[in-house]
């Protein structure tokens, strides 16, 4: 039991820091840099994304034994992952449209970007590639979502710092933020090295 807990905790830390979805793999970097709605919107998005990555990773792990037996599975696997996300998206949207219509209409774009997202796809692909069972996949998916929230926190600090800097006109906005994220990624390279599988 203790070993399982330690294993789960170390897997969570690995997904959160060592294999950070944003800084090490650039998954969902667009949402981080470009999503409108300010800090509150980003945090909301991050929480929704965490739920989606956890659920998506779990589904991918549960369906993997079935999918692996198909012919030409290498062509069909990505399609199945996107179809899983589409199905989850359809169900969640239908339920929200039925029960919480106002909230859903205000946040429909947020939900669309959260579901059809590199991080959600990456959670599924990476858990299957790593050969995790259902519990490990769930924890890894949770870690990917939390790594996005960590990236949101780190980028918030960077934006505050950059808002008072006299950044050259050509670099203001997206270019400087990309360089900032790149330097954080360089710092995490000290932990990871170049051993990350895509």
């Amino acid at each position: 039991m203790n070993n399982t807990l330690i294993g789960i905790f170390s897997l969570l830390l690995t997904a959160l820091v060592l294999q950070n979805a944003v800084f090490s793999r650039a998954l969902d970097i667009t949402s981080l840099l470009v999503l409108p709605g300010g800090r509150k919107g980003l945090r909301q998005f991050g929480l929704i994304l965490t739920g989606i990555t956890t659920a998506a990773a779990l589904f991918a792990a549960l369906l993997n034994p079935l999918i692996s037996q198909w012919e030409n599975v290498q062509y069909l696997r990505p399609v199945v992952y996107v179809l899983i996300l589409t199905l989850l998206y359809g169900i969640v949207c239908f339920l929200l449209n039925w029960k919480k219509r106002d909230w859903f209409h205000d946040h429909s774009m947020l939900l669309t970007m959260a579901f059809f997202n590199c991080a959600a796809y990456g959670a599924m692909a990476l858990t299957v590639y790593s050969g995790f069972h259902w519990l490990e996949s769930t924890v890894y998916g949770l870690g990917i979502g939390l790594s996005f929230l960590l990236a949101v926190f780190l980028l918030e600090q960077g934006r505050r710092c950059m808002s008072i800097c006299n950044i050259p006109k050509a670099f203001r906005g997206l270019p400087a933020e990309l360089v900032y994220v790149g330097l954080i990624s360089l710092s995490l390279y000290g932990l990871v090295g170049h051993q990350l599988a895509a």
Binding site: R25, Y75, P78, Y89, C93, N117, A198
Partner: protein
Amino acid sequence: MQQEQNSVKKNLRKELDLIFVKNPVWVTGLALAPAVVGSFTVKNGVGLSLVFGMVTIPVLVVSSFLGMLPKKVPQYARTAICAVVAALMLIPARLLAGGIAPNLFDSLGMYFSVVALNTVWIVRAPLCQEKKPQWALWEGVCQTVGFSICVLVVSALREWLAYGTFGGNSTVLSVKFPAVAYAFAGFITVGVTAAVLRWCVDRSRDVVASVRRQQKKWRTQR
């Protein structure tokens, strides 16, 4: 007739802006994941551009046709249909890419398939529902050209600096920077090239504005 021709020209120019002035990656910041991580060789860049085009253009055209559906059909259902189309287009994209370069899928890994969920169609598909199919097609083409230019420039630069090659052919470069192939250098390369593009666009605007002022001055002098 004249008005129609002017509006067609205006729409054409508006979409052509997507190539540089409103480049989907460099300016709008969409589809960054494959551009940052996947583009470390020219072959990868070509593969990414191919799959991007094969996914985004059909999705935007289908989205334009979905705009003709009755308003009762909710937006999320239309988005789900676009996602299914994007997923299905991965199969011919994979077959074509495999025919061109057998190692491409191994080199790109999951970033080949991640292009199916690129933010360009996610953001633009609802807006294309109000456009005619030919304009949605033209927008898809321009977005693809814009994405391809960005990815090819970044991948050429990174391949040259990291491996001293261009498209697999060795070039004259005495010092190589192997780390330029890693993710952190991808962020920095895309950021710096975005800044260079912005500087070029601003300069060209200044030049065009000064030329127009000069022309106006000559006209008033006459």
